[in-house]
């Protein structure tokens, strides 16, 4: 395989993508919605920052507060990208599907593939070039979205630190991995189907299955196989009112009668086992869904201190850890799944394309 021939195909494909009306329309929508989501995120960030500053000020003026061990947590600008992620998972997947579903089928329909293959280029070079061109176009879209978001942060006088900048880049890479997952599905269906219409239908069916059906089935399976949750024991002492923090900060542990009650400890253990079982069953099905993997990885990148995020499919949990590296370490399976998912589909595309009947 000669790289110059792959590059020739990739260059043409990239140029086709970024000049196609379909790509430009979806990209424009994608960028506008990204900008809106970033704006929304910046407003929430600024509100949290104001609360944080107020709490800091309170601490300096009221040293003897009601919760002496309590420290407010400074909000991270990565919160902004958490907002972006929710839009990205919807519009980004459409962009990826839009550029991939007729990549091969269109060439079969127009018979340009036969003309191309009559020139000195191997089939694997063609398909690799097509994938490379598509990855380039999606990378370009992602880079634009990140550039817009960074520009907006700067416009609103929010300057990321070096660590935050690294986290933004990792978020970009995870987002690109997510886009590639659906691009890989689309190009596989484009290679399998004889016509672009059929390729689009197959692609949408798989998209619906992996993005919606699998997580729902996972939750249902978790309900079915985990049984009923354990019942808490009768309380022997009144429970203290849980501490509330308006800024999402930490509260230091205080004496709790539940810690000394053996029945309560048994209940806690049973509940933990039940939760673990539910989580395992749910995770097994979710690992096949790029949407879920992307959400989990994004949550780890954008908010590594948080423990739970509620989505339409249930709670996603990441144990509170030290920093970004720890958070990423906890979600390594999801990161691996984001890499393996497109790799499997690209592999299938490669095999099918190499064996394709071009008569």
């Amino acid at each position: 395989m000669a790289f110059d021939r792959v590059l020739n195909v990739a260059r043409k494909e990239f140029s086709d993508h970024i000049t196609s009306r379909r790509f430009i329309i979806v990209l424009a929508l994608f960028l506008v919605i990204s900008a809106v989501s970033i704006h929304e995120g910046i407003e929430v960030y600024n509100a949290q920052l104001d609360t944080y500053n107020e709490q800091l000020q309170q601490m300096t003026t009221e040293i003897e507060g009601p919760y002496p061990g309590w420290m407010p947590e400074k909000p991270s600008i990565m919160l902004v990208f958490l907002f972006m992620m929710s839009y990205m998972s919807a519009l980004g997947s459409i962009l990826a599907l839009a550029i991939g579903f007729d990549l091969v089928s269109k060439e079969k329909e127009s018979r340009s593939l036969k003309s191309l293959l009559s020139h000195p280029v191997y089939r694997d070079e063609i398909i690799n070039g097509k994938v490379l061109g598509g990855v380039g176009a999606l990378g370009f879209a992602m880079a634009l979205a990140l550039a817009v978001s960074l520009a907006m942060l700067l416009v609103f006088s929010v300057v990321p630190t070096l660590d935050e900048f690294a986290a933004i880049l990792i978020f970009g890479a995870a987002s690109l991995g997510f886009l590639l997952a659906y691009f890989a599905v689309a190009i596989t269906m484009s290679t399998v189907a004889k016509e672009s219409g059929s390729a689009l239908i197959y692609t949408l069916v798989i998209f619906a299955v992996v993005s919606t059906l699998l997580p729902i089935l996972g939750t249902m399976a978790a309900d079915v196989f985990s049984g009923d949750p354990p019942e808490p024991p009768e309380m022997v002492a009144p429970m203290p009112t849980p501490a509330q923090s308006s800024g999402g900060g930490y509260v230091t542990a205080s004496d709790d009668p539940r810690e000394t009650d053996p029945a309560w400890r048994d209940y806690e253990e049973a509940r933990k086992a039940y939760t673990e079982k539910r989580r395992f069953i749910s995770d097994v099905s979710s690992i096949l869904s790029p949407q879920m993997n992307y959400m989990v990885v994004s949550m780890a990148v954008t908010n590594p201190g948080s423990s739970t995020m509620y989505t339409a499919y249930g709670a996603l949990q990441v144990e509170p850890g030290g920093g970004l590296a720890d958070a990423l370490g906890q979600v390594w399976m999801n990161i691996a799944a984001l890499i393996v998912f497109p790799a499997v589909f690209f592999g299938a595309t490669y095999v099918k394309f190499m064996r394709m009947d071009i008569r």
């Binding site: 127009s110 340009s112 003309s115 071009i358 008569r359």
Partner: protein, 301 residues
């Protein structure tokens, strides 16, 4: 220049090309004839390195195609049947994309593309290929097949979408290429098209080569066998009298006209007999098999 040895292609258990042995010399304009589904296009796909044979082998300029398809593609040009292009690109851009696979410099590419577009009368056309008529696409197809100045040109149904003027220009082009010493392999089911440009032909039916040689030679080979008999057409102005000659086998009479089946060419003797009887001979010739009829008979088999 082109050779196939027991070339075979089987698709899903169905034999498309069956043990084909073919030889085309350098500089020849070869017509590959056969009805629809005879295996012509499949043979060309194997010769151009686009599909691999199930059995046997094919060589172009001494290079075994299946072993080194890229090297073969560098010296050949191929115009597929129903040629297709990238509809979002102009003809020039399409040619530019294909030309980049040959490792030529930008200057060489630009010059060659301009030359080819002028040759097929598409120079100055700024439309996208998606807006081309079928005839324009066919002409662009010829240009893309010749973009690398090939030694061997494979043309699959080259005049399928051309108007009479385009077809005439195509014939002129093939003659010019033949004059330059290039080998041209024309696949078609239209005999008149092949007859106009080809010096030798091969006739394919149901994946097998039925005959190969000059057009007349192939026609004679395929004509219904009449033993060693010669069929002589005779027509006189007056009523045809009884003809007597030991070589005559039988005579089909029809007024002033007859077809004489004889063991040998006895036209001289017949002419002398008729002249001695004071008859005026209007026509006397050996009846050759009609090429169209012969080929049609093979097509219908």
């Amino acid at each position: 220049m082109i050779r196939t040895e027991n070339l075979t292609k089987v698709y899903n258990g169905k034999t498309a090309v069956d043990g084909l042995d073919l030889e085309v010399e350098e500089g020849e304009v070869f017509g590959f004839l056969g009805p629809n589904g005879a295996g012509k296009s499949t043979t060309i796909l194997m010769l151009t390195g686009m599909i691999e044979p199930t059995g046997g082998r094919c060589l172009v300029d001494g290079i075994e195609v299946a072993k080194d398809p890229l090297k073969v593609k560098e010296i050949i040009g191929y115009l597929p049947e129903d040629v297709g292009f990238y509809g979002n690109m102009t003809g020039e851009q399409n040619l530019g994309y294909f030309a980049r696979f040959y490792g030529t410099t930008a200057k060489e590419r630009k010059e060659r593309i301009a030359e080819m577009l002028e040759l097929v009368h598409l120079d100055g056309v700024t439309q996208k290929a998606g807006e081309y008529s079928r005839g324009m696409k066919q002409r662009l197809g010829l240009a893309q097949a010749m973009i690398n100045d090939p030694k061997v040109l494979f043309l699959d149904e080259p005049t399928a979408n051309l108007d009479p003027e385009g077809a005439r220009e195509y014939r002129d082009l093939v003659e010019r290429l033949a004059g330059e010493g290039k080998t041209v392999f024309v696949s078609s089911q239209i005999l008149s098209e092949v007859r106009a440009v080809c010096r030798t032909v091969g006739l394919l039916a149901k994946g097998k080569l039925v005959a190969q040689g000059t057009l007349d030679g192939v026609a004679r080979t395929l004509a219904p066998s009449d033993g060693d008999a010669v069929r002589i057409v005779v027509e006189t102005r007056e009523h045809l009298p009884d003809l007597e000659d030991p070589a005559i086998i039988d005579i089909e009479r029809n007024g002033t006209r007859a077809i004489v089946r004889a063991k040998a060419d006895i036209r001289d003797q017949l002419a002398e007999t008729l002249f001695s009887q004071g008859l005026h001979v209007r026509e006397m010739r050996i009846e050759e098999p009609d090429i169209e009829d012969v080929f049609m008979a093979v097509y219908r088999r």
